[in-house]
């Protein structure tokens, strides 16, 4: 399955859970380590001494010429950014920001790591620590002093690199802005280019704006009316219906002894359809409906859990009927049923949550409402649909998702064809709306244009945008936008339809024969603008917090390890969780593994499953205590010109508190019990 799809599915599922940090254990470590064990040291605490130790630590690093690495990094950035081949000004600036930020992050992190890991071992080795420890200095003061020293080194480097970044970026953007001004004077400029260039001419290339993403992106064959009338076009759209089941829900699976003909679990499909003009297959009577293909997809791994064939094999009805459900015609509004075989039921219960994916035939539209697919338990042979008992806990948890065909870059949205004009709908909920300018609210759009069809039209792609206010159900007049391929386009929509904060943006492709691809973050609402330098400062501040985390971990490791091993262990501690999260290791991987390598040998599969599960559990346990460095990553945001919110500054700060403080406390306890002689 394409990564785009995985992305889509997980976004539909996750509703931005508020990150909860387990603060009790860290607080207990700090309390016990510092305030109980080190109570006397706390009483004697003097910030003057801490600052003096930090100052010497800082001077030590400076004396060792660590700052000399910054000009090196700058030269590297300048060389790399001269060698780049940007498509345009904004791209050049974006890349330059990336290089600058990347270089800064690397330099600061590496220096923090090395200085912090080597400082204490070196002072013990050359015995400078003798003259410190034999003064009335507590080890708590030494620990904090060192950390302050490291943080000062990082801060100095960040200031230097930050000034360079601002200066260099202004230089670059100034020259690009000049060339934009020249381009704008050219009379042969087309409409989309002009709008785009004018935007940068007004706003400048160094931007920082707060963007708001839509909560959801769907695509329908027609604009739905309220909560009904969701039509899916066969061939170019598909539909996913989410389910959640618990063990025992599918009674039949739990009770294999049940006599034949008794209760069974089965799917009920209720999918009315409509043929497109001229779309009926020759000889197709109304009685033989166009097939719908089904597949069951694990919502955790996004893999196909059960294929249509698998469902068919164990069935009692004709295979082709099972594999391809023939929905009753729209007029008849009937039902199709399909038994869930025992093995499949078990698989579904194991998976817990899954999607039923529906794919139709071209030339037909299918209506996929909330009751399109249901799971029922009852007598499968009873023709009376009213007796179908929808079992508790399994009705669709969410609404059906209808999507355009997936490409690498998102969902494909086609132009109008045979009376069908598909519409992509971005839903915004609880969205704070910025101060409008002349009654307009700014948006930006970045899509991919596919002209793969032997398209006779060389016309520029044209999109029609509308806002639908969900409170009043009013729809705005169309705003036409000429988007450019893979390039941000700026447009604005009337503020009066956005005021309620609950609205949908309707996007239609006006060019028949052309397809565009868009994803959830293709359309963004610009909620706020900030000075670029201020945004950069926030980014650098987060980097500083990160370097502090690294320094604390490295110093902690150096209290009981030689410095090279301390460096390695620090890297493992800092990157451990991030790596595991990125490898996407979680429960269920054992089953996948077993299924993949031992599809027939059940005994081996069980062993493999269990051992892999145990391993991942161990790994998960270890990573649970490691810091999550995800919130420290803000490069992409700055690069895209997105503002960093206060919330985004707070998250790394919290991680630093929850992880950095207890590690500092542990470092102190270790240092207090350490013989500081070589």
């Amino acid at each position: 399955m394409s990564p785009a799809m995985i992305n889509l599915l997980s976004q539909a599922e996750a509703s931005e859970p508020a990150v909860q940090y387990p603060w009790i254990i860290p607080a207990a470590i700090v309390l016990l380590g510092v305030f109980v064990y080190g109570f006397r040291d706390v009483l004697r605490f003097s910030f003057g001494r801490v600052w003096a130790i930090g100052g010497v630590c800082f001077r030590d690093a400076i004396r060792r010429k660590v700052l000399w690495i910054t000009p090196l990094a700058m030269v590297g950035v300048v060389i790399v950014s001269q060698l780049q081949k940007p498509i345009d000004g904004p791209d050049a600036i974006r890349q330059t920001i990336k290089f600058c930020f990347f270089a800064t992050a690397i330099v600061v992190t590496v220096i923090a790591l090395i200085t912090a890991a080597t400082n204490l071992p070196r002072e013990i080795e050359n015995r400078v620590i003798f003259t410190i420890v034999t003064k009335p200095v507590t080890r708590l003061e030494i620990t904090l002093g060192k950390i302050i020293g490291f943080s000062r080194v990082s801060a100095a480097m960040l200031i230097i690199m930050g000034l360079f970044t601002v200066g260099y970026l202004h230089l670059r953007s100034w020259s690009w802005e000049r060339s934009i001004a020249l381009e704008l004077e050219s009379p042969s400029l087309n409409a989309s280019d002009r709008g785009w260039l004018e935007h940068f001419h007004e706003q400048g290339l160094l931007q920082a704006r707060t963007i708001t993403r839509a909560g959801r992106l769907m695509q329908y064959a027609k604009l739905p009316e309220g909560n009904t009338g969701r039509w899916m076009q066969g061939g170019s759209q598909d539909s996913m219906i989410p389910f959640r089941v618990e063990p025992g829900n599918l009674a039949q699976a739990a009770n294999p002894a049940a006599a034949a003909g008794a209760e069974k679990a089965y799917f009920i499909f209720n999918i009315p359809y409509e043929a497109l003009p001229g779309g009926e297959r020759p000889g197709d009577a109304a009685a033989t409906a166009p097939e719908v293909q089904i597949q069951i997809i694990d919502s955790r791994s996004d893999r196909v859990l059960v294929s249509g064939e698998q469902l068919a094999m164990k069935g009692t009805q004709k295979p082709d009927e099972l594999q391809n459900i023939r929905p009753a015609s729209a007029a008849l509004n009937g039902f199709a049923r399909i038994e869930i075989p025992r093995a499949v039921g078990q698989q579904l219960e194991q998976a817990g949550s899954f999607y039923v994916q529906l794919m139709g035939q071209p030339n037909y539209l299918y209506r996929v409402e909330k009751d399109a697919v249901q799971i029922a338990v009852g007598n499968l042979d009873d023709p009376d649909p009213a007796k179908a008992q929808i079992i508790g806990g399994v009705p669709p948890a969410n609404e059906p998702i209808i999507r355009g065909g997936l490409s690498n870059t998102g969902q494909q949205l086609r132009g109008p064809e045979r009376g069908v004009e598909p519409v992509a709908i971005y839903s915004f909920k609880n969205t704070p709306i910025p101060q409008s300018i002349n009654g307009q609210v700014p948006f930006e759009l970045k899509i991919v244009i596919d002209r793969t069809d032997d398209s006779e039209s060389d016309d520029p792609t044209l999109l029609a945008m509308q806002v639908k206010d969900l409170k009043s159900q009013k729809i705005s007049p169309q705003t036409l936008v000429y988007p450019e391929n893979r390039r941000t386009t700026f447009f604005s929509l009337p503020a009066e339809y956005l005021q309620s904060g609950e609205f949908e943006i309707l996007v239609r492709n006006r060019n028949s024969g052309q397809t565009i691809s868009l994803n959830e973050s293709a359309l963004l609402l610009i909620a706020d603008r900030q000075p670029f330098a201020w945004n950069l400062f926030k980014g650098l501040f987060i980097l500083w917090l990160f370097s502090l985390l690294v320094a604390i971990v490295a110093f902690f490791c150096s209290t009981f390890l030689s410095w090279p091993i301390a460096v390695v262990l620090s890297i493992l501690i800092v990157l451990g969780k991030w790596t595991v999260l990125n490898l996407d290791i979680g429960t269920g991987i054992g089953a996948q593994f077993a299924q993949e390598y031992f599809p027939t040998n059940t005994a081996a599969a069980t062993v493999v499953n269990q051992s892999v599960e145990a391993l991942t559990r161990g790994l998960t346990l270890v990573t649970a205590v490691l810091p999550d460095i995800g919130p420290f990553g803000v490069t992409e945001q700055i690069e895209r010109g997105g503002t960093i919110s206060i919330q985004q500054v707070r998250e790394p700060l919290k991680i630093l508190l929850v992880f950095g403080l207890p590690v500092t406390a542990l470092a102190y306890v270790l240092l207090r019990n350490k013989e500081v002689a070589p």
């Binding site: 006397r40 040291d41 004697r44 003097s46 003057g48 001494r49 003096a52 130790i53 100052g55 010497v56 001077r59 030590d60 004396r63 050359n126 015995r127 400078v128 620590i129 003798f130 003259t131 410190i132 420890v133 034999t134 003064k135 009335p136 200095v137 507590t138 013989e675 500081v676 002689a677």
Partner: protein, 308 residues
Amino acid sequence: MSVQTAPPASSLETISPADAAVHTEKLTKVYTDFWGRPKVRALDDLDLTIRRGEVFGLLGPNGSGKSTTIKLLLGLIFPTRGKAFIMGKPCGSPEINSKIGFLPEESYLYRFLNGEETLYFYGRLFKIPHRDLKKRVPLLLDTVGLDAKARKRKLREYSKGMARRIGLAQALINDPDLILLDEPTTGLDPIGTREMKDLIVSLKNQGKTVILCSHLLADVQDVCDRITILFRGRRQTLGHVKDLLQDQDITQVQAKGLTPQQIEELREYVQRFGKGAQITHPTTTLEDLFIQIVRDQSGTGSYTSSDT
């Protein structure tokens, strides 16, 4: 010739540990390797009581455990067994450290600071107000003999003797009551050595306790009130320098230009007379005592000595 351990100084046993400047009980340090297996027994059951106001010499050949003792007293390392008290309090605490000055074996200081900055830094660790430091720092630098030019130079440019001097200055920055000097004269020129000795005497006159570690016997002999000799981590002797060196039953004959035959005759002659041939009681040098102890203990005679 026999070496007599000094008669236990009666006054020593009567002072309580709380009154003593330093008091150790069965202080033992065994260095272990990475796995915790014992490697070296550097100090073995050391009992020591040092009075306030005295200059105490810790003597011993290289590797005898002198520095180990000092490190234990300062809390740089922790004893395997036994206890150590300074001014009646368990050693190694910041309260005690504020009354101590320590000159390490070699001057281990931040090499990127200059002499003045070094003293200001250590002064700040004692929370000495800046105003006081402004007065004390130049005074100290004068005392240890670092001139105006040397003060502004980075420590990495210092010669060994200069490093020794700045090390001494940082040990005295807090006007300590107890001063521990580990091999204070190494690296110093004869004049420097002389000055160091004078300084120790003047510290003593100010009522301070000084513990002096050395293998240079002449230093110790000149300035110490009492000494102990360590060998292989064990205390071999303890007492007043004068008592230790006064050798009651030795007779020294001094003559010039004697032939071997005459020496032989002389020896026979003296043997005939037995005791009473000489009236004077010359003192041995500390060196003799030292070598004797080492030879007795090691039993190898690897430390050769001139005949007396």
